[in-house]
Amino acid sequence: MQSQTEQESAPSSSFKTKKLDFTSLLDIIIGAVIFFAGWQAVFWLHLYPSFLFPSPLMVLERLIFLAKSPNPKFNLGASTLITMERLAAGFTISVGLGTGVGMVMVHFRRFGRTMNSFCVGLQSYPSIAWVPFAILIVGLNNYGIVFVVVISSVFSMMVSTYSSLRNIPPIYVKAARNMGEGGVSLFKNVMLPASFPSLITGIRQTWSFAWHALIGAEILMATIGLGALLELGADFAEMNQIIAAMVIIFIIGFAVDRVLFSMVEDRVRTKRGLNQIPT
């Protein structure tokens, strides 16, 4: 057939995926050096006494101390583990429940519209403001903390599932139905993958809401955990412990968002050719 010319003119299939190359690694190192140098410089100015404004080295010492501490209240590993367990529980429930309700919202139009405006209202409700409610109705325990995490993030998942599914190009559903697809199979094989790039953004946002709520709830409700470590630091005027906990919280947030979600999102976008415009 006469198709050769057309195949030759097809766009080339080589495109680069984003990778942590040498220059961006160098940029990160330079940024970190400037940051720590600035911190050290402010410390040397002695604007505050050293117990209120410790040097990077003092924070590092405290981190090592916390890592070695036999007391689980202070032990860095134990605190991080329990915080991550609460996060995993709350986040999983939020994503599962939010996706489920979001799907029901798409199916029942009037319920969806009403629920959507309700969710948007609840989404902007401060997560900490759920704490008194949670303490009385669930209790001052792990369940109470998970409750605060779920209630602060589940509505965001509902809204994003709802809008992701509603924004699928109708042609995909039309074409799939034309090929005999329907019901659960249509949902699983077409609607879910079609909405995935936008759904992953929603999941990312839900994680962010959950993470914010968790640390807040831990400060007020927990005896062990990264939030509790912050609170203990304040109680004993241990600024180096507060900053040590802040650093760990920052690192976890950074790792989950920038590394985990970013990688998944990037992979999906590259596969679908959404990453080809240089930013």
């Binding site: 195949q7 097809a10 995909y172 074409a175 094989n189 077409v190």
Partner: protein, 288 residues
């Protein structure tokens, strides 16, 4: 709908039993009427789109449908595919009235309807799962049709790595892999450039020769309609009626450059111009 597709369509109601014994007629439209509800401020009124459309299509025929834009050509295909309702008349496929969507009649759209999260191979094999085909066989069947449209070296590519013409060839392969009784094509080459369109016009004729599929092809391009169709059905402006039918008995592959077609092209173009004159200066926003 995924059950075994026997000789009798599972999703149809027999109304003219015995029709198939007499002819190899595959599609019959009888006095088809379609109205759209038009919202005019807070008033609602009915707009007649298709007015008593009747025609037959024989098995293996390549029929092109042409008409001025907004005349309801796409609506007609949607009705045959079971994707839109109609208000009067009958659509009969192999002696059975079309009642629901089924994989027996497959549509190829003008828009890009391929799934960007699947490879070419996975796209073409997509509909075969609903036919209860085992995995290996699905893959083999899909590959056969990918070879038919000459894209075997792109079988594992994703959609964004293909050009517009290649995408439409994948769509054709996906439609053919379903092994439908009727293949409906709704301006499939409308969004392509002139040169690619010409190549694909040649290819679709070759595919038709090889597979002997019944094809119903909607276009607004007179040259395309004439070079592809065994028969050209010309629709009038809304409310659409069948204005003329032209049978074309010339050997394939043909091209619009064929001098024997010039007279016909001019004649159809003249007829179309007449229809456009009837069109209201400000249309009602119903797409073709």
């Amino acid at each position: 709908m995924g059950e075994e597709l026997t000789e009798e369509r599972s999703n149809t109601i027999p109304i003219f039993p015995g029709t198939r014994l007499i002819t190899n007629r595959i599609l019959e439209l009888r006095d088809l009427r379609k109205t759209h509800v038009r919202h005019n401020g807070n008033q609602k009124d009915d707009l007649l789109v298709l007015d008593d459309i009747s025609f037959d299509v024989d098995e293996g025929e390549f029929v092109t449908i042409i008409g001025p834009s907004g005349c309801g050509k796409s609506t007609l295909l949607n009705i045959i595919a079971g994707m839109e309702s109609y208000q009067g008349g009958d659509v009969v496929v192999s002696g059975h009235r079309v009642s629901t969507l089924g994989p027996d009649i497959v549509m190829i759209f003008q828009e890009d309807s391929l799934f960007p999260w699947l490879t070419v191979l996975e796209n073409v094999a997509f509909g075969l799962r609903n036919k209860g085909m085992p995995k290996e066989e699905r893959k083999k069947t899909a590959m056969k049709y990918i070879e038919l449209v000459q894209l075997e070296q792109f079988a594992h590519s994703y959609m964004h790595q293909l050009s517009g013409g290649m995408k439409q060839r994948v769509a054709i392969a996906r439609g053919l892999a379903m092994n439908p009784r009727i293949l409906l094509m709704d301006e499939p080459f409308g969004a392509l450039d002139y040169r690619t369109r010409e190549i694909l016009q040649g290819q679709i004729q070759e595919i038709h020769e090889k597979t002997k599929k019944t094809i119903l092809f909607v276009t607004h391009d007179v040259r395309e309609a004439v070079s592809l169709g065994d028969r050209v059905i010309l629709l009038s402006h809304r409310p659409s009626k069948i204005k003329r039918e032209y049978a074309i008995d010339l050997p394939r592959p043909r091209s619009a450059e064929d001098p024997q077609l010039h007279g016909l092209i001019n004649e159809i173009q003249r007829q179309l111009k007449e229809e456009v004159k009837f069109a209201e200066p400000n249309g009602t926003g119903i797409s073709a």
